[in-house]
Amino acid sequence: MTLGVLPYVLALVLTFIGLYVVVAKKNIIKIILGVIMLEHAVNLFLLLLGYRSGGTAPIRSPGDTVSAEAFAAGSVDPLPQALILTSIVIGLGCLALMVSLALRLHEKFGTFDMTRIRELRG
């Protein structure tokens, strides 16, 4: 296993920490934080896939006279970046929805603990 696979493995570790928090914790706010960590980890993994060694950002500046092929040979991949950009803002929208659900649950049951919410029926 060379050193070139280590960033991917660390991103996977982050994913599994987020997954563990979502599955094994009992406080609703902790579960929401776990979902946020999952989103960060997945965005990070997508970004790592598109990086080129010594590459530049995929933005051309005025006064840049390299040809299109030379530019494409030296820049990072723009396609994962476009997909991640929308995903970050969607994460904030989903966080608003989850937090409003948590606030309503707290108003009705008086607690954030999942085990006690399951006991009270009604």
Binding site: M1, L3, G4, V5, P7, Y8, A11, L12, F16, I17, G18, L19, Y20, V21, K25, N27, I29, I32, I36, M37, H40, N43, L44, L47, L48, G50, R52, S53, G54, A57, P58, I59, P62, F71, A72, A73, V76, D77, P78, L79, A82, L83, I84, L85, I88, V89, I90, G91, G93, C94, L95, A96, L97, V99, S100, H106, F112, D113, T115, R116
Partner: protein, 190 residues
């Protein structure tokens, strides 16, 4: 050896330590602050890996996330977590996740090494066409915007729909008019 590899690994280790603290802390406010630190580390990694639009968006969205969560957590900190540790359940979850981590680490070795994207080589993909013909076909110097709003504009329409629906859902849940009131002595509707 790639010159950014060591700062990248250091930042990844920082993010992992932050997420472990966020997972195991008893105080909810400490967990929220640690998730904010994870997001800040991610923004710096975005800058290192050549994605400036992502860095701008990640910083602002992370600040807004932390503000919303602190607003929720700050007045309800007396809700400490119950300490009935169910060791069998937590242990089996950790065991399954460990097996999953081992299998996926083996799967990562079949990917291309870090630093040599699929864009390069003898079979360049569609992103190569976007980079070489982007400026001539769309007139935009920022190729990420060109991909997002010209080549893949239908996905952006789907994303706008998702944000719209989630915000409408939040409005519908937080509305006060027409709700059946559960507790006595509540305020009159707006």
């Amino acid at each position: 050896m790639d010159p950014i590899l060591w700062p990248l690994l250091a930042l990844l280790a920082f993010m992992i330590i932050g997420s472990l603290i966020a997972a195991e802390a008893e105080d909810l406010l400490s967990s929220v602050v640690c998730v904010g630190a994870v997001g800040a580390g991610l923004a710096i990694i975005n800058l290192l890996l050549g994605a400036p639009d992502l860095a701008i968006t990640q910083v602002v969205v992370e600040v807004l996330c932390v503000v919303v969560l602190i607003r929720v957590v700050l007045t309800r900190r007396h809700e400490t977590q119950q300490t009935q540790k169910d060791t069998l359940a937590v242990g089996s979850v950790l065991l399954v996740l460990g097996v999953l981590l081992a299998v996926s680490t083996w799967a990562m070795t079949t990917l291309h090494p870090f630093g040599q994207p699929l864009l390069a080589g003898d079979r360049p993909g569609v992103a190569y066409q976007y980079l070489t013909r982007g400026l001539a076909e769309t007139g935009a110097a920022n190729h990420v915007t060109a991909v997002l709003l010209d080549y893949r504009a239908y996905d952006t329409l789907g994303e706008a729909t998702v944000i719209f629906v989630s915000i409408m859902g939040a409005y519908a849940i937080l509305r006060r008019k027409g709700r059946i009131h559960h507790a006595p002595g509540n305020e009159p509707d707006r």
